[in-house]
């Protein structure tokens, strides 16, 4: 017996029964998961200020890089995406390639954080974290890796404090916001963020997530789950799926004044690329970025399109600047198998050739102390 479409009625029937069976199987597997581990690479808390915490990962090689690398993630999602699970961890791969890694966790803003602005985050928390690492490493300059919105922060920071950044790496970072390639860039123009901030104070993470999910509603809210039913054969697969789900829906609220400025000054007025952005009293001039720059973007990124990331290289004064792209989307760039194989080695190698130090780390203070003039003065004092 044949229907106009299917090979047989029985096939149509078995498809239906099969879907039902898979759904039941998914219930058995998924509801058995009460929690999943994320961010399991060993690390230590080295500095804390308000809700911001700075972690240092324990090295995985005997002699890690002498110049530490600070990873700055976005405010809109949790940074454990960089260390999602053992076999999908950019952090772990970088550690294996000899990096000495620090990472900022911005935390979950509470109602009292509504007045935190971009200056507090960049000239406050980020700068204090950098200073702490400089103190610990006894170096004047460290390496900085900013991801997504954290990449924008890193670029702003490097322009404000070029004397503290040895090498700058940015991943999928929006810099030129005046693009019609990314849907968020279009919608933001009509978004009255003032009204949102005035109403909520701290803008809920769910509200932000709405924007991301709406970008591809059928693939993100339907086909992803239907596809999962096909592949859900064992507990490990279910846990991996749930782990990613946990990250997607684990969205911290956004401190009101910070998101207000981010949307108004960057998404709407595009002030950063025009060198007109003000952070507190200081104007951000991208031409002050002279250190080596590695700009990484994802070719199919629908959240931060390549056209928003690539213009950075033309806006800075750096002579040594590299652009690196990977196939894939905004999230795949951190966790895909391609990323695990290509991205971490590329970053580590790029940094290694630019992080050579004299025999041992020398801080500014130490350098001054070693200068002949200083040594003579010291002898005299003794």
């Amino acid at each position: 017996m044949r229907t106009p479409f299917s090979d047989s009625m029985e096939q149509l029937a078995s498809e239906f029964v099969e879907t039902n069976r898979k759904l039941l199987k998914s219930m058995e597997l998924l509801t058995g998961i009460s929690n999943v581990d994320t961010g399991t690479t060993p690390r230590d808390l080295v500095y804390q200020e308000d809700r911001m915490r700075l972690f240092r990962y324990r090295p995985l090689v005997d002699k890690p890089s002498a110049v530490p690398l600070l990873i700055t993630y976005a405010l809109v999602n949790r940074p454990y995406m960089m260390d999602l699970q053992e076999d999908r961890s950019l952090v772990r791969r970088l550690l294996q390639h000899g990096q000495d890694i620090y990472m900022i966790d911005w935390g979950y803003p509470g109602p009292g954080d509504r007045y935190l602005n971009l200056e507090d985050y960049i000239r406050g928390y980020l700068n204090n974290a950098v200073n702490r690492i400089r103190e610990q490493s006894k170096l004047d300059k460290i390496n900085l890796l900013g991801v997504c919105q954290g990449g924008t922060f890193s670029v702003i920071y490097a322009a404000l404090y070029p004397e503290k950044v040895r090498n700058l790496v940015v991943m999928v970072a929006p810099i030129d916001f005046d693009t019609r390639d990314g849907q968020l860039h279009i919608w933001a123009k009509d978004l009255n963020i003032d009204n949102v901030v005035d109403t909520y104070g701290v803008v809920p993470g769910d509200f932000m997530n709405f924007g991301f999910l709406m970008l591809r509603p059928f693939s993100l809210m339907l086909d992803k789950y239907v596809g999962m039913l096909d592949n859900l054969d064992k507990k490990e697969t279910a846990e991996n799926f749930v782990r990613m789900e946990k990250w997607i829906f684990d969205s911290p609220g956004q401190a009101g004044e910070a998101i207000r400025q981010f949307v108004n000054d960057l998404y709407k007025k595009n002030l950063l690329i025009k060198n007109q952005l003000k952070i507190g009293t200081r104007t951000v001039d991208l031409k002050r970025i002279t250190m080596p720059l590695l700009n990484i973007f994802a070719e199919q990124d629908h959240i931060v399109p390549p056209s928003a990331s690539k213009p950075l290289n033309d806006a800075v004064s750096s002579k040594d600047k590299t652009i690196f792209s990977l196939r894939g989307g905004h999230i795949g760039i951190y966790v895909s198998s391609q990323s695990q194989k290509q991205l971490a080695p590329a970053i580590a190698e790029w940094l290694a050739t630019r992080s050579q130090l004299p025999a041992e780390p020398v801080s500014a203070g130490a350098r001054k102390a070693r200068s002949p003039k200083k040594q003579a003065a010291k002898k005299q004092a003794e």
């Binding site: 017996m1 308000d50 909520y200 509200f207 997530n209 709405f210 789950y225």
Partner: protein, 381 residues
């Protein structure tokens, strides 16, 4: 499944039983199928045409999903796996609805096209007749998936507004009733003398006491006009939200319907070429990718961006009004309001900034002092 909760075991027991009855229904249907071929109205002794049987199975499955899972989730502690399954179930239900469409399409389109009609026209006819229920089922997939902040105005404040409106109506009822007879009573009272006047006043006073008077004697609530004004503004914001969300929803619905029309045209065209999807899964892929593409095109339009901006604004306005009303009522209680807390947060924020500035200054001064001390030591013989 090994489980820590007895209730889960109960649930699975019930589920297994439902599965058994479902499978029995399925087996019965399959056994009837040879006697009911597509295009056939059903052979003697069968349970009816095969598509009806398929429809029954679908209905049974839907009912089972809704009842079993619905009951199960009511009291289930929220775990990350459970939340993921809830989302999966939502997707599976959309998938099931599409299956229903597919089964119906098989029913209608199994025969040759009516005389004078092409296959494509036959597909379009089917689509037009089926369209009516589309928005309510698959077409609503999108807006039904909105997160809490976007769905919020439909729930909490709507309920609150209704209750406010009811309260207001109860509140003003005695006054309205009393005021209707007041002119006559007053006129009578004036004609009959002081006693009658007193009686009229006594008749009118309780109404006043129960209504405006009571409100005016509640200083914590403020003057009545302010409260009523807030309620009116809240209601207005809600009406505005309904209006904007209707525009927004209809834009999405229109695109969704057009996408389905495109799917049908494509299906007809593929069928003509003998390339129609062979399995439901192939059809499903055609459906969702066509929809995704259609939505993407809609997103690119300035009109959609404007509507989205208006929708967000409307939601914010409802929430803002809601906060104002709550604050108005909270004034009577010794509970800090949102505005008061915001003032406090602001003071705390400014104080923290001041402490940071001072700490930095102290550190700089200490460092300067040390340098001065060192310099002084050097100068000493």
């Amino acid at each position: 499944m090994t489980t820590e909760h007895g209730r889960e075991t109960d649930f699975l027991g019930a589920w297994s039983e439902a599965q058994r009855s479902y499978m029995r229904l399925w087996a019965d249907t399959l056994s009837a199928l040879p006697r009911a071929t597509p295009g056939d109205e059903g052979a003697k002794g069968s349970t009816g045409p095969w598509w009806e049987a398929t429809g029954r199975i679908y209905d049974e499955w839907q009912r089972m999903c809704q009842e079993m899972f619905g009951e199960y989730w009511k009291g289930t502690p929220s775990t990350i796996g459970g939340q993921t399954f809830a989302r999966t179930l939502g997707a599976a239900q959309v998938y099931g609805k599409l299956y229903e469409f597919w089964a119906n399409a098989a029913k209608i389109l199994s025969g040759a096209p009516p005389e004078g009609k092409t296959v494509q026209e036959m597909y379009q006819d089917f689509y037009s007749s089926w369209l009516k229920g589309y928005s309510a089922s698959l077409g609503g997939f999108f807006t039904g998936s909105f997160p809490e902040p976007m769905r919020w105005p439909m729930a909490a404040p709507a309920d609150l507004m209704t209750r406010y409106a009811e309260a207001l109506s109860q509140f003003s009822k005695p006054w309205t009733a009393a005021i209707q007879g007041l002119p006559q009573k007053t006129a009578e009272a004036l004609q009959k003398g002081p006693q009658a006047y007193g009686e009229a006043l006594n008749w009118w006073l309780p109404a006043y006491e129960q209504t405006w008077g009571r409100l005016l004697r509640m200083p914590a609530l403020g003057p009545a006009r302010e409260t009523v004004g807030l309620l009116q503004q809240g209601a207005e914001a809600l009406v505005n939200y309904f209006s904007v969300s209707t525009d927004f929803g209809s834009a999405l619905s229109r695109v969704s319907t057009e996408a389905m029309q495109k799917v049908m045209t494509e299906l007809g065209s593929m069928s003509d070429k003998g390339q129609a999807p062979k399995t439901f899964r192939e059809f499903y892929k055609l459906w969702w990718t066509t929809n995704e593409e259609a939505v993407k095109v809609l997103y690119q339009t300035p009109e959609f961006s404007r509507l989205l901006g208006l929708l967000v604004d409307a939601i914010m306005l409802v929430r803002k009004r809601y906060h104002e009303i709550i604050e108005e009522y909270l004034k009577a209680l010794p509970i800090p309001t949102r505005t008061e807390m915001n003032d406090l947060y602001k003071s705390l924020y400014l104080l923290k900034q001041e402490v940071r500035r001072n700490t930095k200054q102290v550190a700089e001064l200490q460092s300067r002092l040390k340098r001065t001390e060192r310099a002084t030591k050097k100068e000493q013989p």
